[in-house]
Symmetry: C2
Subunit: 594 residues, 2 copies
């Protein structure tokens, strides 16, 4: 049941696949070098394994507690959070001027994978602080940065994203919370919000709420939303805490999983708030937080998958049943049965692909800010934009899929809560839903990201994948090679078809009908690309006589497993990409109910 942070995998993926060296080369991270990658990840591993993982079960069983208008964190969580903040983990990527360590986002994501894997419910708390940090850094005033940003970076306070209302979920434009000017530069915030993760707790003295609401004269819909900051306790000019603000939790949800993450219903009753950024630009500002959070949720998918995989692997090595066709052993460990070996191999391959996708998105985000030229920054920004919905949706689907396979490897024991596999299956299920459902991600991909610059980001990606394909005959021939070629063609065909339909006056429904399949296709193929790059790097290291040969050979086999079990599906996804809106219209509500 212990968790072992995959430090070697994380370093390999960052350096050999995602291209962290290019981030270091920008010079934007003065304290960062290759040695630091290992040091940070080893320290993260130690904390996640030693402090967070042991609290995962009790957090599931006891959960957070709501009583009398306040939330108490699950047993041990408040203390663990304080250790986490003291260790500097809340400020890894924050700028040094705010007290952070100004390390690359990609490295922070890698470190946080271990946090989410060890304790997904815990990880949400700092994840949301990081999102608030991003927003304040981007659009906060100097005073807001002084007052709030530094406290979020130090981890003394935590942040919360406050968006959803009962009638406004995927469509935030429908929200009705209001903020009325008080005449002194502050606003009076009123409304009820739901799904506020870690909206209240007792782990820190104060909580900074980033709240979407409407000014009195705001236009209706998404263009009339502004971003506000409301602090649980008023902050006095000297930085000390004053009176309690007029908002409070009125309940926490009883959820399928992540029981230790309090999902609050919050009531704002004339709470004092500050405007953050420009009036009526709230959605745009929130998307600064949201994009970072989406990538972080993708990393959650990787983390929970890794945790589920490790437990299934341990079980398969210990549990003995039946004779192995390989070893001939009569009462063999089930890992020596081909079908179990297949399941574990596919799990490992998907995790490695999702990890590389997320960390590559992190590298793209770093380079989008810090690459040397405008042109390079623009290109990396396009890659980040294209990859963010993939990283979020594809990786969280992998999280659910691998967690489910993990249950299955355990057989009957997997269904027993004490075993632990079931918790991962329950916890993992939230990740495809929050921070924009995976359906919203697919619509974002085909609706916004694919169309930018006439599809240039997708064309660039296809060109990059073809460049890797050209190198692949060094390693593979026959099917493993053909499958990547066919898969790239499928991405190309699907992309061109969608761009065509996007350009057509009557094409909108066709594009949306194929959105989910296109996202899956892209994720499957980009994942294959990632593993192919890893295999090539492993070969180069082997050829140089360096590294652990068995481990490096494993990376080469991993691509082949993925090619047979995942890449093989790429071309078949074209059928669903192109199914068209007309067919779905024939499946009318009456037909569906009939």
């Amino acid at each position: 049941m212990t968790y072992r942070a995959p430090v070697r995998d994380l370093i390999f993926t960052l350096t050999e696949v995602a291209g962290l060296d290019a981030v270091a080369a920008t010079g934007a991270f003065p304290d960062f070098d290759a040695d630091l990658t290992g040091a940070v990840l080893e320290a993260a591993a130690q904390f996640s394994e030693g402090v967070l993982a042991p609290l995962n079960r009790v957090g599931d069983q006891k959960g957070s507690l709501y009583a009398n208008g306040a939330v108490t964190a699950a047993p041990g969580f408040a203390d663990a959070y304080r250790q986490f903040a003291e260790g500097g983990w809340t400020g890894l990527s924050a700028p040094t001027h705010a007290g952070g360590q100004q390390l690359p986002k990609a490295l922070e994501l890698a470190a946080y994978e271990t946090v989410h894997a060890a304790n997904m419910a815990f990880g949400l708390c700092p994840m949301l602080s990081l999102a608030a940090i991003e927003a304040l850094e981007a659009v906060g005033t100097e005073a807001q940065k002084t007052t709030y940003l530094t406290k979020l970076v130090s981890g003394e306070w935590t942040g919360a994203m406050v968006l959803t209302e009962p009638q406004a979920g995927s469509d935030l434009g429908a929200l009705t919370a209001t903020a009325v000017p008080n005449g002194d530069g502050t606003y009076s915030l009123t409304g009820q919000k739901i799904f506020v993760t870690w909206g209240d707790h007792d782990a820190t003295d104060n909580i900074v709420h980033m709240v979407l609401a409407r000014l009195p004269d705001a236009p209706p819909g998404p263009k009339g939303i502004s971003l506000f900051l409301a602090s649980k306790y008023r902050v006095k000019p000297d930085g000390s805490l004053g009176e309690r603000n007029a908002f409070r939790p009125v309940g926490v949800e009883h959820k399928l999983g992540i029981h230790a993450s309090p999902t609050c219903v919050m009531a704002y009753e004339g709470a004092t708030a500050e405007l953050v950024g420009q009036p009526n630009q709230g959605l745009a500002h929130m998307f600064v937080m949201m994009n970072a959070a989406r990538l972080a949720v993708g990393v959650e998918g990787v983390g929970i998958a890794e945790r589920a995989y490790q437990q299934a692997l341990d079980y398969a090595r210990e549990r003995r049943q039946g004779r192995s066709v390989w070893t001939g052993e009569a009462n063999a460990p089930i890992i020596d049965h081909p079908d179990v070996r297949r399941a574990l191999s596919v799990m490992k391959a998907k995790i490695a692909a999702a990890r590389a996708l997320c960390l590559s998105t992190g590298v793209a985000a770093d380079l989008a800010k810090h690459a040397a030229t405008d042109e390079e920054r623009r290109r990396w920004k396009s890659r980040e934009d294209l990859f963010t919905p993939l990283a979020k949706a594809w990786s969280t689907d992998v999280g659910c899929d691998v967690a489910s396979m993990g249950v299955q490897v355990h057989g009957g024991m997997g269904f027993i809560e004490e075993t632990g596999a079931a918790q991962y299956y329950r916890d993992a299920r939230i990740a495809p839903i929050y921070e924009g459902t995976n359906g919203i991600q697919a619509m974002d991909l085909v609706g916004r990201k694919l169309g930018q610059d006439g599809g240039q980001a997708a064309r660039d990606l296809i060109a990059d994948m073809k460049a890797t394909l050209a190198l692949l005959p060094r390693l593979y021939s026959g099917k493993p090679l053909e499958r990547f070629a066919t898969a790239i063609e499928a991405v190309q065909d699907a992309t061109f078809w969608l761009l065509d339909r996007k350009a057509a006056a009557d094409g909108a429904a066709d594009v949306l009908a194929g959105a989910d399949a296109y996202l899956t296709l892209m994720g499957d193929v980009v994942g294959g690309w990632m593993l192919a790059k890893g295999a090539l790097a492993a070969r180069a290291t082997l050829d140089a006589g360096e590294g652990d040969p068995a481990w490096l050979e494993g990376r080469i086999a991993l691509y082949e497993v993925y090619a047979a079990n995942v890449l093989g599906h790429a071309s078949s996804r074209l059928a669903a990409v192109g199914q068209g809106g007309d067919l779905l219209q024939r499946m009318s509500p009456d037909v569906l109910a009939g």
Copy 2:
């Protein structure tokens, strides 16, 4: 939250797809005719909707209770069970000589789909009685039939299957429970068993345990296992209940789902038992029960998927978010967004395919017993054998998949337990595990079923599918037609490759490495065949000017949805079928742990 039994779908599937008429034509079911199908299903619908569905939530929340060596069923369950038995639902397919109604198995399965959908935890109780009935009917003595079978058929007592021990799950050959002759024809049964579904409860006065154990002189392994019957209370010669037998539950498992189904740890401490069937033939006898139970579990998958689908459909029709690209409505029901419509359409198509697969397996089972000639019975038996692992595994995968999509359609509300979608997701997860994991089903398919008569069953199936393909141009052209043709070819290629590898001295690991993918391929394609047959029948009914045109047109669209979203994947599964054992061996335990 209400459940509406899909009576029209069930009747259509039984009569137009599965071929229930051929069962009626055998004359083996004297009281059965087409009118009775509707009457039985309407009555089942009424009971499932009115009595069982309302208990589903409380069963999940309260669960069954273990205390002081006895299990109390969840609130309301004991009373519901007694009504169920009084309604005659435990004896639908049992022979009239035992007090049953001697109706076709296929009709019983259709009726039970509504039971499992309404309340999966409840349905397990009669499902296991039906399995015990099958075994006693097949190999019980006349005295056993008189004493036990009639009480199981009437539902006055329930049955339990008692197989698993901690060290003997998938490999029952490792079990160690013993049965020592008492010298009076009875045996003294000793051992500890786990995963005994409804092993104890307070819904009936007595419970009949069908237990696998070893005789003192039995050979080791699977050939030394015998089947015993142990009754919770001794039965006196006059049929009344005597003293309590020496076995008892020592606990119930705390599970991910089906909380109202008590999963017992049972201790047998010199319990008095009778031998059922022949000594050392226990596994063969148990497989009579097991095969029926496997098909019934497939139907559970269909039922839980239907329930999850209905709730998601209701939510999608009520929940409003964002502008519809079809209707232009600003705050449209989410069913009018193409991606949600796609999800619901795919869910419906998969359910229809799984339902038809299971009911066709039921028809094959009926005809395997009752068709006119030896040759026909042999042929139907082969079809039943081939379809049973498909029905079990593919349908339960559909159950999990659809339940997960149901959560997703709900967005954030899906993760909240009060919504109900999460319960289906949790409940559904057991079905791929019990009665032989889906991995075991895949091994059964490629190991035993495929090889019978040199693959004749698969060849017959392929020929039948080609016959339907030849009719399909009446309805479809282009892609929907091509996809079925390609899919059949994929089944053919995969089958021949596997038969080849089976024949090779070094092929065993290759066959097992491809087992899971082959089962999925077969299920996907057979499912498509089922929907194609349904579409052809719908067209014929339309052409005859009969039926509800909109509903029948819906059946025609349903195949197209399936063709684009599921059948399209068939050929790509070949990659995984043929991945080979060598590749998986390269993914050694060390590589997997590295």
